[in-house]
Symmetry: D2
Subunit: 382 residues, 4 copies
């Protein structure tokens, strides 16, 4: 019988809800070598916490997140708080011998991320995980497997964008527009995901950043806490170009000002043998172009990635063609975390702090490029 | 009755065929204030030229293109030769008082382009045109009209790419891979088009280039004229980021190594009031997202741009839903050239040498950025 | 505080899993006026039942489904067994004063369905529900609301098909191919759903069946329980034409032999003011064409039906653009059942036995048309 | 050198324009064994005819179509008049020894069509052709080749619809709504095309009609020639079900009341080995699902049917990805007519009067089924 993995969650907001659901659903749909037990949820707001715990099935609740470190019953701590608290919580839990699963991006700053990476290195008996959950959309996992098995060949281009449209001038001055709380705007929120996907799918690392634009279009927004307007101190969009070590060229774009796109995390990869493309808004579908196909019938193949026999994670869910949704990526991640905790292989590799630190370096390098590097003014070109 | 416009064409290759068709078809489908007469075709290869002239209905043929300048019957010369001869032919014709319609890009180099622009300025009684034909796909013309009428608002982002996939390592060393003949690779061939579209649709000019990658992945290719391999001296792909004067950020990409894309000239523009997107592979369709729509039914509207009552150029062609193809963009351009020659308004503005020179400057600036500007090495970011 | 609704489920197969998940998830994502309690699961196979109960959180399990009728703690019985047992179980539970939620189609035969309808009429204090869950895909619910608010106008055409592709000659003689157990093939399984959707969305009833084809292409299949082949005694496909009372014409098709379609339940409705179309394989999207739009920008609007402010059920789930999956339609149905049990309005109407009996009549009428009515032989037409 | 084929066209309306363009364009883009010469155009309206002849390059014009029979210079007569004159003109021309290319449907009535078929049989030295031009969209021709080479296997289902939306109640009483002139409404206009496509692609013949609905929703329309309303005497929509001789089941639908569809001629075919689907609104694309593909990457392949090396007709047009339009189907047909006249093989088979007569029989049989056969009233099914 599967041994228990006692889990504590910190956070009860959007990610708290998504993670709670995942811890609850995973053992219902997967056969796992360890049994995740929803032991305790911790968060600051005691007004809402008991109801949250009750609703999602956490056995206990606490407003003292730091105290989890001392609770010997807890095996793994899931850090789902805002970015600026990732470091302190994660390091404390690692030092207390807990396994840690931290929300992305790893930290609010590169310095914090490095500290976390170092703490993870030291904590030899602890495992670390980062919630780059989109790796575990079955179509992304299939893309990973196709690329690893040589179907794309050597990679020429990566084209990654994460487009949202909710950040127009009518949107008020939410915490997401304040650098103190959010660290950055679209960059850390969205580019983090597509940098992770690009690194994960290519199996390659960025060598250099060839240019970047970091832009705040809407400089002032209506205050939520009083009359008048206040300053937005984060980026609305960040675009950058990069070159990978093995030679692939890549473009990245994150924005909250692309009207018509809601959650459009898209990636396309072109190689010597074929191409793949994917979008989160139709997350069950992977498009694949095989350059070796017969010319008469060659085309983009729209693969419905829902076949239990052939596609990652599909065995846990519904019959072919019965699509899954956004939150299943988290549930699939819980399943893989439990596999790793039970010394089994995950369906596809999980990101740890070391891995997520590399993504954070790319985030940082893009900002350096946006700020420090000279542009070519059109006035120089007569 | 419409007065005659005697036209001479130089060139009998791919563009010679497309232009010949356009000169022939335009008066059949449009009511025009001047009547284009296919007077003479000039080209070097006398073996194939008479048959070409006969097939497309050119009344005369000649192997001496320069002599067209002295033929008083010719009113307009259509220069459809490789880029390296645009300057000499166009300037000679302008100096002889001819109107000139030149293939894109304006020239092989910026210096040549500037000379052509200057010659056009001097030739006050001559009109100049450049074959940036995709402006005249009805869906692009509709997008132009929508943007001009304020439907998109102030522009945040331009996302333009021209992806083709024919340039893999099995493709031999065609003239297109030799810098001498071709000037550049994907850059001049493909980026030229999308820079023109971005400038045309936004009505704005590039202020600066924020980064660029120019890359030759396939360095050697099988010779056509002998055994062994020879060097490719042009780019396979060029990506760059730019900022427009009014603040919009833009990304551009041209490549011949995007397997699965055949002629995928795509552009998307996001603004304060809405978005548009378009691809040449489905050129009859424009997608439009109106941010002011009722939230319940708001979505990307897929507009079939074929309605004679509502859509540019559609009155000349077939009933609604009966789509047109690639070559109609040239025919629509001939119609607009004839309108301008007859002192009428074109459906949408035509690019002249002055305009195309601005596009050439952006092409050049992107190369400067790719070559001269420092990148951020990942090794700098610990 | 919400009063408890004690629920018993009968069945532990595919539908048992989907319903269990829905009873478990609904109170986590919705604020409901009654609180569904997963009291007991009943099924025949005692080997697997305890683990099933444990996995999905049923407090008790029993191999005696009939005994649920006598358990005073049970308020509602969810009948998720094969079609041939719907009648006996549902009638028994209604006679015992339970509320009943029965899987679709209502019964294996029209006679049984009528008996169930009559039992429901008699059981005045009981409520009945039928699991036509696809009504509760948010995009379908939105379509219902648009049609009710007059956006489509008077209806001309309904085009409904439910295409699957798993039933080729290599598929063995599963119970689904045996009339005794399954009642029918694609017809009861798939046409039932689209008849319900067509009736629900139009708000109209079928007046007559204008023709039908019921076909078994694969007459023998490999036995599962021994060597050799056995007879398939159900239809592989049923197509029929119908006219609605208010005049709309309709086509229906169910098949398991449409290779490339996995779970493609699609419906399109055309009316005097507009059209809608939808497919279950992209269940988060509704396409809407508004004939009153400006001709310049008129097109099919692809609506991402995920906006909490504007779209049915979306408030319970994730932010805009974060799509949901197949099983959410069941969870949404549980939420509406709980609303009705708590004397609130469901988001959109729920089907009861009376309603599902009308769908069963259409199923039957189509078979009558397929079997009994004369066709026009081509040999009659010289 | 290619021998001349002197062609006379009868008609100067929509089809006159499409055919004139095709006769003119074919020899420019194809290398043909006979050279079509645009000898004479005949039509009734002498006011517009000379300009029409001039515009499209007809050497002569005449208001006496019948006189073409006596002109020994004419080899082939292209009958592009309304349906009610097809018989008289075609029979006269066949009796005069001309080859005849007649617009579809073959005739206004089945009796007329039979007479034409008989005349064609007698005129042994004449060839006949019918303008079922959509066979010659390259994607349809590719589908034909794929099916013939066994890629689809034995056929289970044909799903064909031709949906237009222009026929709402605001559309006035055009000649198309008068039975005398038009013969029928959507049925002869649109179902004719999809019956031809279904017969052509399957290589099979209809055995029986299993049901049909013929419906006039808009019974009165605003008169064009005076005040008030007049009766529409044709169908707005006709749907029918059919069974093919080899067993495939098929559904057909033609309507002018499907708002949002402009020229949506769509067909899907499912077989034992795969499926194909196609729509005229994206006529350059064929979708193909190969059931024998590897399950991991199996999906609908979207084939851009524009590759000169691999796809029918593509060698005549533009490079890969440069799409063609509606009128190219006619030009491709002229090319194949010239090939046949020059004793070469057409790219794919051409329909002659014998063939088109079979399509007319199916049109007729559907109407018989709609009028004469009993329906199943819902009131019969309790």
């Amino acid at each position: 019988m599967a041994r228990d993995l006692n889990v504590a969650l910190i956070g009860q907001a959007f990610m708290g809800k998504a993670h709670s659901n995942a811890w609850s659903q995973a053992p219902r749909f997967f056969d796992l070598p360890v049994n995740p037990v929803m032991h305790t949820v911790a968060a600051r707001n005691a007004d809402t916490l008991p109801a949250f715990a009750d609703r999602f099935g956490w056995a206990n609740w606490s407003t003292n997140a730091r105290a989890l470190a001392k609770n010997d019953e807890i095996h793994l701590v899931d850090v789902s708080t805002p970015n600026d608290s990732h470091r302190a919580l994660s390091v404390a839990m690692l030092e207390a011998g807990k396994h840690v699963a931290c929300e992305k991006p790893l930290a609010g700053t590169l310095d914090e991320a490095r500290e976390m990476r170092d703490a993870a290195r030291k904590a030899k008996s602890s495992k670390t995980f980062v919630w780059y959950n989109y790796r575990r959309c079955p179509a992304v996992a299939l893309a990973y497997n196709l690329i690893r098995s040589g179907k794309i060949g050597e990679i020429y281009h990566v084209r990654a964008s994460y487009l949202q449209g909710w950040g127009g001038p009518d949107t008020p001055l939410l915490w997401r527009f304040k650098k103190g709380a959010a660290g950055s705007g679209a960059h850390g929120d969205l580019n983090a995901h597509i940098i992770d996907l690009a690194r994960f799918l290519t199996g390659d690392e960025v060598k250099e950043i060839n240019g970047a634009i970091c832009k705040t279009f809407v400089k002032e927004r209506k205050r939520l806490d009083g009359p008048g307007k206040g300053k937005s101190t984060v980026d609305d969009s960040v675009q950058f170009l990069a070159t990978f070590k093995k030679g692939a060229t890549a473009s990245f774009e994150a924005t909250r000002l692309a009207g018509g796109h809601f959650n459009d995390n898209s990636i396309e990869i072109n190689g010597t043998k074929g191409s793949i493309r994917w979008s989160l808004e139709r997350l069950n579908e992977l498009e694949y172009f095989d350059l070796s196909q017969d010319g008469r019938t060659r085309g983009w193949s729209n693969i419905m990635v829902t076949d239990a026999g052939d596609h990652p994670y599909a065995e846990a869910w519904w019959p072919e063609g019965h699509i899954i949704g956004y939150e299943h990526s988290f549930t699939n991640q819980v399943a893989d975390i439990c596999r790793v905790m039970g010394r089994r292989k995950p369906a596809i590799p999980l990101p740890d702090f070391e891995d997520a630190y590399q993504t954070q370096r790319v985030l940082e390098a893009a900002l350096v490029a946006a700020k420090a590097r000279e542009t070519v003014k059109m006035s120089e070109v007569k």
